[in-house]
Symmetry: C2
Amino acid sequence: MARFGLLVKMTAAAGQGYALIKIMKEAATLMKEAPGCDSYVVHAAADDNDIIWITEIWRDEQSHEQSLSVEGVGELIGQARPMIGGMEMTKLRTLTD
Amino acid sequence: MARFGLLVKMTAAAGQGYALIKIMKEAATLMKEAPGCDSYVVHAAADDNDIIWITEIWRDEQSHEQSLSVEGVGELIGQARPMIGGMEMTKLRTLTD
């Protein structure tokens, strides 16, 4: 069965890219330990520090939903929210290892 | 130092999604063995088999460029080309493991 993939593109509010990356790196450390998380990687656009991509692979969509209640995640989301100018999410079926 | 990330979004020519996915899965098997390739994963959009995403992580951009000359890759690209209606590539700096 295909796993659940998620692409998240965040555009930082003006001047907030560096601070947002710092928080998302902390989120990655937490998320990688969440049950069902196979991959959670933080990237910045090659030419723009204010555009941040997260590429995620989960055992299934439910595992992803449950990760939002992992200890510390809610706090990080609260810190990140005012730094985020825009966000797009794309749900995927992950077909290879 | 940040690694080199690449997001590739392919839109299959009409009705060619399934065949294109099959070829990109073969490409993934080859690419994962290429020097400097840390990750090469094929996904389809959750709701559209004709939209294919590849998420890649390489040691550096040069490793990615050299992968195009890995044995068998040129042949797969040749097979895939007529099935691709559109393609967008986004270069990334990969910031976490």
